[in-house]
């Protein structure tokens, strides 16, 4: 586990608490930034039509399609921005944008 050394530095912090050069002293922390609420349209996955071809997974710009044991799971709506690319590339109409 990567140590997050940014604890206590936030939008209320005085300038003296900023890191030198604004360096982010952490890694893999984009998961903490919930972009799901930027969404105006929502993808809906229809597992009965899905053939698990996994075409949608590499196209997703926000890594919002979790994959486990070579199979995709339902959308990570904490991060999905609803761009619709997954629906556009799905060969089986298994993703619907609402």
């Amino acid at each position: 586990m990567i140590e997050n050394r940014m604890e206590g530095i936030n939008e209320k912090s005085p300038w003296q608490d900023m890191t030198v050069g604004g360096v982010v002293l952490a890694g893999g922390n984009s998961v903490e930034f919930l972009t799901g609420d930027w969404r105006t349209q929502t993808p809906v996955w229809h597992p009965e039509k899905c053939k698990q071809c996994l075409m949608c997974f590499p196209y997703c710009p926000d890594s919002s399609i979790p994959v486990q044991d070579r199979k995709r799971l339902d959308f990570d709506l904490d991060h999905c921005k609803g761009c619709g690319i997954c629906a556009a590339v799905c060969p089986f109409d298994a993703i619907e944008i609402r």
Partner: protein, 393 residues
Amino acid sequence: MSKKDRLSGNEAVANAIRQIDPDVIAAFPITPSTEIPQYVSSFKAQGKLTSEFITVESEHSSISAAAGAEAAGVRAMTATSSAGFALMHEMLYVVSSDRLPVVMAVVNRALSGPININNDHSDSMGSRDAGWIQLYSENAQEAYDNMLMAHRIAEHPDVMLPLMVCQDGFITSHGVENIVLEDDETVKGFVGEYRPDEHLLDPERPIGVGPYGVSPYYMEMKRGQTEAMCRAEAVIEEVSREFGELTGREYGLFEEYRMDDAELGVLCIGSSAGTGKDAVDMLRARGVKAGLVKLRVFRPFPAAKLASALKGLKALAIMDKTDSFSAQGGPLGAEVRSALYQTGVIVPAVNYVYGLGGRDVRVETFEEIFAELEKIADGAPAEAFRYIGVRER
């Protein structure tokens, strides 16, 4: 053991780089700085330095490559002039706000137009607000010495800012002069190793460099950056003192020449200072109480100390080798007047714009200036600014 030699300013800087042996050198040629990477690449070919030498396709890329290398935790250097310097402008701000202590050799040359390859300070002065420390050099010796001190200042934990060492194009860069070189071991010992606390290539402690500074953070980051520049003055003095103890060559934020009892003073930057000192000696021999101040450190601007040095003058000439086109003179004129106002020092001052595009600056130029200062000291009105050494009807 130090060694007496005769070198051009470019050779002197290239030798400093060889002795510092930075991890990365990224450079793109432009007159009159071209010789620096040229000599350095020869040293590399001869096995006299271990630096990774990166040839790039532009100055925007050379400074970017240097920034990337610094972010990866190593020492990176580059060199440029004029239009190449201007092409770096955007990246200069990125490097300083990311607090990457890149060291750059600048060989000052006019920025077009009209197109011109000769010396003035319009290139580096044009980026004076980019957040870099700026050291200016009178001669090859000072260019060399400033370079040896550069990393100690830039990489100091209180500072962590990029630094440029400037010298006058052709006048010192291509002129051969006497110089004293320190031996390689002495330089290595003085400059030391660079081990930044944080860098991109530590898999145990990953970091992100150059994040988007959204409004809630941007001003706090800028405030931190300016704090570093405020702290740089003391660091420059401390490093210069240590350098003086090591080599016997003393440097401050500026040099005062025959200023103790001076009534008429000239303040200038760079190679003209030597010519000015010769003029001061001539005038002193005639009984004129003339003196000269040569500014070495323009960023950070040593306002309080400089105002104190100028206090007591009856007339002052502030000399700018570039025009700000503020209709008020040049950048040094503006900074010095601001410093005098802030400290309550009242000295009648004229801001002279001189030496543009390689216009030669002679002892006679200084004599003319001192003659005008004498009249001002006797009560004649001081013009806010004017050009000197220009043909007039």
